[in-house]
Symmetry: C2
Subunit: 257 residues, 2 copies
């Protein structure tokens, strides 16, 4: 069945592995009959800094409250056109892929600024003007799939369960859980390539093969079993119920067995 | 003893809690005889996006490799003046405080862009042009102290050990461990204020009191016991030795008992 896939990516160098794989991915998805939307953040000269310029028509010109102004702008059609365009891409997509080089164990600033500006109040948080009633598995992007595709300069062992950087999945939890799952998307396991600065021909071939395989299964792979806020595990919407994963704490407690 | 403290902060609204506490902090530290340096990222109109403009004199004009160009610019004096100024502040500081509202479970994009641009090759990574020989407890900022001061809109319980967002310390691990400890700083426990959107007078007073107390103990408090790469726990610089925290995995394994 024909689907729409949005690829948001952040790497300006034309010959980079990130851009190479984006182009391969677009080709593969289109060949399979899907529509592909892209947000090439560097090429778009995306405004990374979330500030007063995001609110040309203020609710309160004396005091800048990002939440209040975001609600006001989203509700009254005062958002800037670049933000509206990205929100519309998210709404049109059946799957969203964020593709980036891992810089200091997170997404590049330009992509963080995409999240901050596009994820408006009443859109990605405070959905239906209902505070935190709809989040973590429920929200405006419910039913869509999401995946991170991350290029890591360091070797895989540094990101392993007892690796010196910390496990990649825990480092990325603020994004997979806090940015993708938060407004309702089903999050697939991260697709990572390691040692990107030292890839030889065989390594590149393996990377391309792995990426193609993940794209081919984009609508079949099983999402990470994050616990939905309104699925019963968080009866008060704040704390995991005592009988769920008893004794477990931290990120590990957020994934159902 | 007189010390120098650098406060880097990211919040443009003059009446915000972040800026209020920064000003109180400067006053307190100066009263105690310390020098205070500041980087008010919004007021400085800090360039958030790391891109080709950071390298006015390229090693290779055909292909933008951030690592190669960063090494080249740092070594040959081709860094932009704004980056050099921030590096000099870091070198002058005995303690570095990053103060920001938590946006999507991380620092604002403008501050992420400060890290990406200021943390040059041979400065914050690849120190002494020696690959990964000096990192995680060793590096150019060794002997300095660092602390995050984070304003969270949500309630403390959401960030607790079994809270729905995940524990704050694990969400911030990519920053405390991956950005502050990486180039050698001793990282103090994060100072967090919760429910910042709904603080009443008593809440504000408690926040101010807590912040003052942490600043007064800035050079006495015990750092987080992150494991140094070259301290013996990582014999191959990649994987935690089998006999250290046996059976533990993930972020929890990175803190010595």
């Amino acid at each position: 069945m024909k689907k729409t896939v949005l690829i948001v990516y952040a790497q300006p160098e034309p010959s980079s592995l990130t851009r190479h794989l984006v182009h391969q991915g677009i080709e593969l998805l289109q060949k399979r009959g899907h529509d592909v939307l892209t947000s090439d953040l560097y090429a778009m000269n995306w405004k990374a800094v979330y500030d007063a310029d995001d609110f040309p028509e203020r609710a309160d010109v004396r005091r800048l409250s990002f939440i209040d102004e975001s609600r006001h702008a989203h509700k009254n059609g005062f958002q800037t056109p670049d933000v509206v365009a990205e929100q519309n891409k998210l709404l049109a997509a059946d799957a969203v892929i964020l593709k980036f080089p891992l810089w200091w164990f997170s997404m590049p600033a330009i992509m963080k600024g995409w999240v901050e500006r596009v994820y408006a109040y009443n859109f990605a948080y405070g959905y239906q003007d209902a505070g935190n009633a709809f989040r973590y598995g429920d929200g405006i992007l419910k039913g869509k799939r999401a995946m991170l595709s991350v290029m890591c300069g360091g070797p895989a062992e540094d990101y392993s369960l007892r690796g010196i950087n910390g496990p990649l999945d825990e480092l990325l939890f603020p994004i997979t859980h806090g940015i993708l799952f938060y407004p309702g998307m089903d999050v697939l396991p991260t697709f990572a390539i390691y040692g990107t600065g030292r890839l030889d021909a065989a390594g590149l071939e393996a990377a391309e093969k792995g990426w193609r395989a993940r794209l081919e299964r984009l609508f079949e792979d099983k999402p990470i079993a994050f616990r939905r806020q309104n699925g019963g595990d968080f009866p008060d919407r704040h704390i995991l119920a005592d009988n769920i994963a008893p004794g477990r704490i931290g990120i590990a407690a957020h994934i159902a067995e």
